[in-house]
């Protein structure tokens, strides 16, 4: 089986949680939608590993950042497990976002010092 030659990145530890929370900011979604959304938005740069997505969703649920409920899909008669952002989750997203920003800036300062000066 030929491997895709497309560049792919492994998610940094903890980043997935933030991406999931951010995705849910648009409204409730089920696991498949969340995965697809992240993949599409990054132009398949971030290939969703289901082996990390589901543990992440369950972890978020356990921490009370999202709630989950079986609901009917929009145009089908099937039920999906929809995840919804909680108030606590919203706050957590802000925290993680600012942490990520600090991190990215710090990394940028080390990597491109000239750009910083100009």
């Amino acid at each position: 089986m030929a491997k895709k030659e497309q560049p792919r990145a492994n998610l940094l530890q903890g980043t997935l949680d933030m991406l999931v929370l951010r995705t849910l900011l648009y409204g409730p979604a089920h696991g498949h939608e969340i995965g697809k959304h992240i993949q599409r938005t990054t132009n398949d740069f971030l290939q969703m590993q289901h082996g990390s997505l589901y543990p992440a969703l369950h972890r978020l649920e356990e921490r009370g950042w999202v709630t989950a409920k079986w609901e009917k899909g929009p145009n089908q008669n099937r039920e999906f497990k929809y995840y919804r952002l909680t108030e606590k989750g919203r706050k957590q997203l802000l925290v993680e976002e600012s942490q990520w920003k600090q991190m990215a800036e710090a990394v940028a300062r080390v990597m491109w010092p000239a750009a910083e000066e100009s």
């Binding site: 696991g31 498949h32 589901y54 369950h58």
Partner: protein, 864 residues
């Protein structure tokens, strides 16, 4: 999420994965793939659903529990696979923990649990000099004048079993009463469960004619069938009606705290003013310290106060208060023994662990391949370690369950040993403290004996482990070194226990060997206090003549006498002075007083040293006489003949005879001064006890004595005939208790050590089959092989014995206070124990050594 929701949650997850997988497949179909292809593509994009499920499980906080349950199931399956070694392991852990928990229950009851009184830490026992009782007047003054105590209370120390007669429904019977001061129960904070305590008026009545009494809970249950209506009713005590005013709580067990071995039935007042009480030092005192006052402060104050009182009242017996916190007083004597026992169970548990460690090690090397496979499949080291530990802890918990059953049985047995002279024995039971102890013991043991095998896990390198487990490859010398040190430490620990047990057995035999000064064998005693009041000494004299005459006529009775108290049973002391002697007030000789009749010395087997014994003609009307013991004679008239001397008691009594010293406080205590007053010349005695010496067994006499005495007193109460041997047995019972337990532990340790060395030698012989085969092929004889195995065994045993001996020496000072007539470094004991251990090791190694000698070289080499 709770662990019991795991199943529901797992179903939920499966459903979620399934629906998302279907969605993915649909999308693929929309791209134009066939349904079958779409499904496969979806699976490819998705990954392995089972793996995703497991990875998600790991994110649940309960995953450790899941793996624990797995380990547990696996461990239990493993236990069933090896039923023999499992049963063995559970059995020895059970025995070890059973012993440990039983001893802990005793320690808990005696040393750890507070006494069943209000604020027991404030209670203080106040002895007098070397002894225990003080004169009541001294008690009253100490109580009124001290500033350290919120109150003092006391009770009559000279009561003895069956000192009162209870008549009423059915035959009259003898019960045991203690006279206590009116404030005794309030001071302890003990409230009757029904009724009330003594009023001031009731407390100050006439001694032996009380108007009110309190009954103990057990007497209420057994004699009055727990009838609450008994309170307020009158019962007949010593032919006088007395009102039952209250029932004491079951938690209050006077005898188990203050006088182990003599259960008390009722409590009567001990009046302070009434002068008809027995005279001399009679009162035992306890006090409750005021808040903030220390025992040291109180001691200082009472000592000063006592000195003042002794100067102010030269007519009284001097008092020298000796303060001991009550808890210490109650358990102080047994504390060293309990500490030794606690150490012993600790040592036993260590041996159990060493043994099981060895067993688990053997099981682990059998499972080496399994472990290697699991490691190859990705099990982390932590995971394997946890599994091995789960297995060993499961094993030890099963053992603990057995141990708990043993402990419950053991404590129940102990609590019913009423003949044992140990405090608080009846309150020993398995409580939550013991349960917690048992549980932590089991877990600790499981970790301890599981740890060594568990740490071997990483030693199984993959390739080695997966190869068809060569016998030689299981760890080599490092393993052997560890196994050897396990066996050596087992022997060392067993050696320490055996030395301790042997020293205590030796002491016990010495104690039994002590010449008590009287012969308890074939002597028995019975209360014969007449049920009527003696009008005068003449009537008493003829009662005694009559009673003794009739008893002596019973076939089989070789001697009979009457006394007020018996050796090993009660005490009362007076200050005594020889005529014309002057003593320093604070250094005055005191003698124990016995009021006895003729025949007493013959009945007890006390030897006459000089002069003559009392006879029937030493009566109320003849010259006042007295007999003394050798210590008395030596103390008052050193270097002179005591016979013919006068003591100042009762206006002057002539010493007519000197008898041998009696160990009346117990075999381990020397007796002190003793003075015997002829009963026919005294009315100052608390009871009449008949003592008979018989050629028959004492038990067969009781009926005969009762029949013989019925004509002179038809209402003579029914009491048990007690043998003097029972008194002695009760006295040595704490020591017997210690010896029994420690010997049991030592025997168990010896058994374990021999099993340990047997297992080790068998294992090493089977390991060395090839080597031995080669040796024999090269010409080694069977006896040489056998000898080499035995020599190796002996080396291990000796290493253990040497270490154990050093350990025993180091620990010997802890034993000193428990020994009697031997030293903690007694060479005979050490030699004996060393020889025993070596012999046991050789016997244990004999079977594997024979097996080694029978190895067929060809066969051994071919199978390898």
């Amino acid at each position: 999420m709770k662990w019991w929701q795991i199943r529901k949650r797992d179903e939920d997850l499966q459903r979620e994965l399934q629906s998302d997988l279907e969605l993915e497949a649909e999308e693929q179909r929309e791209r134009g793939l066939s349904p079958e292809e779409a499904r496969r593509a979806a699976l490819r994009a998705f990954g392995n659903p089972t793996l995703i499920r497991e990875q998600t499980h790991a994110s649940w906080s309960t995953s450790w529990l899941e793996s624990f349950a797995q380990d547990l199931r696996y461990g239990i399956r493993g236990m069933f696979r090896n039923p023999g070694s499992t049963i063995f392991a559970i059995l020895i852990v059970g025995l070890g923990i059973g012993g440990a928990s039983t001893v802990f229950s005793v320690v808990n009851a005696l040393l750890l649990r507070p006494l069943p009184f209000h604020d027991p830490r404030q209670l203080v026992w106040i002895g007098n000099g070397d002894c225990c009782t003080a004169q009541i007047e001294q008690y009253v003054d100490l109580r009124n004048q001290n500033k350290s105590f919120s109150d003092l209370a006391g009770w009559a120390g000279d009561y003895s079993a069956g000192n009162e007669e209870l008549t009423g429904s059915g035959e009259s019977q003898r019960i045991t009463a203690v006279a206590v001061t009116g404030n005794f129960f309030p001071l302890l904070g003990v409230n009757p469960i029904i009724g009330r305590s003594f009023t001031a008026a009731e407390a100050e009545g006439i001694y032996r004619a009380p108007t009110a009494l309190l009954i103990s809970n057990s007497f209420w249950r057994h004699h009055f069938a727990s009838d609450p209506g008994i309170v307020g009713r009158k019962i007949t005590l010593n032919n006088q009606p007395v009102t039952v005013i209250g029932i004491l709580p079951a938690s209050f067990d006077f005898s188990s705290i203050f006088d182990p071995g003599t259960p008390v039935d009722v409590f009567i007042p001990w009046p302070l003013i009434d002068q008809k009480k027995p005279s001399g030092n009679t009162t035992k005192i306890i006090g409750r310290l005021k808040p903030g006052v220390t025992v040291q402060n109180a001691t200082a104050e009472l000592t000063t106060l006592a000195q003042q009182l002794n100067t102010q009242h030269p007519e009284r017996n001097p008092v020298h208060p000796r303060l001991v916190p009550l808890e210490q007083y109650v358990s102080g004597q047994v504390r060293p023994a309990l500490i030794v026992l606690m150490c012993a169970v600790g040592v036993v548990m260590l041996i159990v662990c060493a043994n099981l460690s060895h067993l688990q090690l053997a099981r682990m090397s059998a499972r080496q391949k399994e472990m290697a496979v699991r490691a190859a499949l990705g099990a982390s080291r932590m995971r394997l370690l946890r599994q091995v530990l789960t297995e060993s802890i499961t094993l030890s918990l099963c053992g603990a369950a057995l141990g708990l059953i043993l402990a419950i049985a053991g404590t129940r047995e102990l609590a019913h040993l009423t003949a044992f002279n140990l405090p608080l024995l009846a309150s020993i039971h398995v409580d939550t403290g013991t349960l917690a102890f048992t549980l932590s013991m089991a877990v600790a043991a499981g970790v301890l004996f599981g740890l060594a095998p568990a740490l071997q896990v990483p030693a199984y390198r993959l390739r080695e482990g997966l190869q068809d487990a060569g016998r030689e490859s299981s760890g080599g010398s490092r393993h052997n070194w560890f196994r050897n040190s396990l066996v050596i430490s087992e022997f060392a620990l067993a050696c320490i226990l055996l030395v301790g047990a042997a020293l205590l057995i030796q002491s016990f035999l010495h104690v039994l060997d002590v010449d008590l000064g009287f012969q308890p064998e074939r002597a028995a005693t019975l209360r014969i206090d007449p049920s009527f009041k003696m009008a005068n000494l003449q009537q008493q004299n003829s009662f005694l003549d009559d009673a003794l005459g009739r008893v002596r006529a019973i076939p089989g009775v070789t001697a009979a006498g009457v006394a007020d108290v018996l050796p090993l049973d009660g005490d009362r002391s007076w200050q005594i002075t020889g005529k014309g002697q002057v003593y320093d007030k604070n250094n005055h000789p005191e003698a124990y007083i016995r009021v006895v009749t003729d025949g007493y010395f013959a009945a007890l087997g006390i030897q006459l040293k000089s002069g003559r014994e009392f006879t029937q003609s030493d009566r109320a009307t003849t010259e006042p006489v007295v007999m003394v013991n050798e210590t008395f004679a030596r103390t008052l008239w050193p270097g002179q003949n005591a016979v013919g001397q006068i003591v100042t008691q009762d206006g002057g009594r002539r010493v007519i005879g000197v008898v041998a010293d009696v160990h009346h406080g117990g075999p381990e205590l020397s007796g002190g001064l003793e003075m015997y007053i002829p009963m026919r010349q005294s009315n100052d005695y608390p009871s009449m006890r008949l003592i008979v010496r018989t050629a028959l067994t004492p038990d067969s006499l009781a009926a005969g004595i009762r029949t013989a005495l019925r004509p002179i007193d038809p209402n003579l109460p029914v009491t048990e005939l007690q043998t003097l041997q029972q008194f002695v047995d009760r006295q040595v019972s704490p020591r017997r208790f210690l010896v029994m337990l420690l010997t049991g532990f030592a025997a168990f340790a010896l058994l374990l050590a021999s099993l340990g060395i047997y297992a080790l030698i068998s294992y090493s012989v089977s390991q060395r089959t090839k080597e031995i085969g080669i040796r024999m092929a090269l010409g080694a004889s069977a006896s040489l092989v056998q000898r080499s195995v035995l020599t190796r065994t002996l080396q291990l045993a000796l290493a253990g014995v040497v270490l154990g001996t050093l350990g025993s020496f180091a620990l010997s000072r802890w034993m000193t206070s428990l020994l009697f007539g031997t030293t903690p470094t007694n060479p005979a004991v050490f030699t004996g124990v060393s020889l025993l251990l070596c012999a046991v090791a050789l016997i244990a190694a004999y079977v594997p050594a024979r097996r080694a000698a029978r190895i067929e070289p060809l066969h051994a080499l071919r199978t390898e």
